[in-house]
């Protein structure tokens, strides 16, 4: 077909499923892991080594427990992936989850160039040579946004993984698909962070520094522009000194690591002025010492408070008096809660008891970006495979 570049594979793809957690797929991933870890690129790109660690045999073996009786499962057939463009290596995770389910895969690689993406693709290509059963079931493609091409892939797909938010989903849903094709869509989401301020007070310098670095990785590392990056910080056992210690530590880490672009400085200041005008009734004050970190203190949380969103280190804060106050505003947009100093079991219990329509993940600060086979409320390996029932 016109204008499609095949980085891996060709238009003659074998769409016959494999078993879920097939031995070929598992050893392919394990070998890929060691190839990546042996390369100098793994040291250069932390996201590449994260991919390698995920693919290790020990980790894959652990993942087997997330589907019940995988020996009764096969892949659905062919899975077509519209991969996310700005988080470089996530296309690979999307591919891995579906591969483990037992599917053949066509992965659309975003056109934005990343060094680690080309490195990773060349590793995958090399390792595939030893695994013909997977090789003939794999194609990585690149093409400019073109609905005709996307539709031609959609029409042969048994499953589609659609990343990239509401707009992409809308476009893809308008394309023709097979009647039994299933879509797993990753819509625009919203995430928050809950911190116990008193527990911050008890941290020694080393632990405080680690906490601030973990927070940095959840937020600044992706310009706070990922669905699982927290926008709002909820403080429990609120304490002025605890807050100050936390933000001072964050600021120190940010100044050490973050490249603050000039235009971002103007954007954040403009956002602060915009918020003052538009949301003056719920924002108490906006604090900033410089343009690295902006904090908007919220007076009261109201429905749709998730419309307040910052980027590149622009946070909203609220002093929370009991979870119920928060649960009143949680809607289906809420994805991740990152936490520090609170009991996640209790939080989970509260989410379930209150029958909330949102919140899919409760993870410690630092793990917001850790993508895994259970993501966005989906058990991806289970949903991308077919369970054969016998009685």
């Amino acid at each position: 077909m016109k204008n499609i570049e095949y980085l891996i594979g060709n238009d003659n793809i074998n769409v016959k499923p494999l078993q879920t957690f097939s031995p070929e797929a598992c050893s392919f991933l394990n070998e890929l892991s060691s190839v990546i870890l042996k390369s100098p690129a793994a040291r250069q790109y932390p996201d590449l080594s994260a991919v390698a660690f995920w693919c290790r045999k020990a980790n894959i073996d652990k993942k087997k427990s997330i589907v019940n009786d995988y020996s009764c499962r096969l892949g659905r057939g062919l899975c077509f992936h519209i991969a996310p463009s700005n988080i470089p290596v996530n296309f690979a995770f999307s591919f891995f989850f579906s591969l483990l389910s037992g599917n053949a895969n066509i992965v659309r690689i975003p056109s934005k160039e990343f060094e680690q993406v080309s490195v990773l693709i060349s590793f995958i290509k090399d390792v595939l040579e030893k695994y013909p059963a997977i090789k003939e079931r794999t194609a990585f493609v690149k093409y400019e946004r073109d609905n005709e091409i996307s539709e031609s892939f959609s029409m042969i797909a048994d499953a589609r993984m659609i990343w990239g938010g509401d707009k992409t989903i809308e476009i893809m849903r308008n394309l023709k698909t097979k009647p039994r094709c299933i879509d797993i869509t990753f819509a625009d989401r919203y995430s928050i962070c809950i911190i116990d301020a008193e527990k911050v007070l008890s941290l020694d310098d080393v632990k405080l520094k680690r906490l601030s670095e973990n927070f940095y990785n959840d937020t600044f590392l992706m310009d706070q522009n990922a669905c699982s990056s927290p926008q709002m910080i909820y403080w429990v056992n609120d304490n002025e000194q605890g807050r100050r210690i936390f933000w001072n530590a964050v600021e120190k880490t940010v100044k050490n690591k973050y490249h603050l672009q000039d235009a971002v400085c103007v954007d954040k200041y403009t956002k602060a002025c915009e918020d003052s005008i538009k949301s003056g009734d719920i924002i108490d004050k906006i604090m900033y010492d410089d343009n690295y970190l902006y904090r908007c203190e919220i007076k009261e949380i109201i429905p749709n408070v998730e419309n307040l969103r910052g980027k590149c280190g622009y946070f909203y804060e609220y002093s929370l008096n009991g979870f119920n106050n928060l649960f009143d505003v949680v809607d289906s947009k809420y994805q991740t809660i990152t936490y520090f100093g609170i009991d996640p079991e209790k939080l989970l219990q509260a989410v379930v008891e209150n029958k909330l329509v949102g919140i899919d993940r409760i993870v410690p600060i630092g793990k917001a970006m850790d993508i895994d086979a259970i993501w966005d409320g989906h058990n991806l390996v289970a949903e991308l495979s077919r369970f054969i029932n016998i009685e």
Binding site: I87, S111, G164, D223, Q261, V266, G280, N291
Partner: protein, 358 residues
Amino acid sequence: MNLEKFHEIEPYGLSKTEKEKIFFDEMLALTEYHASKCNEYNNILCKLGIDINSIKNIEEIPYIPVRLFKMFDLKSITAEEIFKTMTSSGTTGQSVSKIFLSKENTLNQTKTLTHIISSFIGKQRLPLLLLDTEMVKKDRSMFSARGAGIIGFTTFGRNITYALDENMQLDINKVEQFLAEHNDETILMFGYTYMIWQFVVKELEKQNKHFNIKNGILFHIGGWKKLKAEAIDTISYNKRIQCVLGNVHVYNYYGMAEQLGSVFVECEHGHMHCSNYSDIIIRKPQDFSVCPTGERGLIQLLSVLPSSYPGHSILTEDEGIVLGEDDCPCGRKGKYFKILGRIKNAEIRGCSDTYEKH
């Protein structure tokens, strides 16, 4: 606001110490005034924790990002007091600034522009050749900054002639006739930087045509982005204008639709100058602290003119350098500076917009 004291003195006559007090007093008064009249402006000051009473010097005068005029209708007058609404000539597809002018504000803009420009060309009206089309004036559907600039400039001229026809074609016969009529006089010209380049200079070069103006003055305003892409700088721009037009003094000037009137004119030494009506502060992007002379940073512009909208102190998205104050070899007092152009757009990481179009 009574600006008589500014209109009475030489526009480039005040030295740092002379200007400091009257300029600061005016700025502080404007800040207080807009805070009391414009809710949106007052909200910004409140939420950002800016206390007007604690402002001690010009650098502490708050500034609002110029983009806000595109996002909100910011005005310090009632609907009945709006004399005209001006829009910036934004590039196609972009949102435009909306500036609400009272009669008083408009009058002060005209007075100020006259005061500044006549210090370069003298007080007499000169034969004026506008290097633009008359259509910008006729098309009243949108009162754009481009049209306003043209109309504003007509005050300095007589026998006003438009060099371009409605299709932006240079009307050579008309220009030749105009020049013949005013053979021995000083010719005043005005236009927009890129349009002059595109529709006058390049056209004349293409036709291998030269006018022989004996004594001309050209004022031009506008962005340099497209010219930079063609690798044209001020010196080559001026040279090629002189090649096709003759002995012409070229003055570039810089101004924002948000602060029309108090323009910054480039002197014979290639320096942009603040007049008594305006000031510039260069700020470090990271913390908005003030850059010392000679250091590049974001441009903040201050003007005593905006009285009907809170545009007296704005943070632009342009970069520049203050080169000095009161000591330009041209003799004009006040700060002089250089503009480096727009800052680079932010590149944001993150997971949105995957099915992208590049």
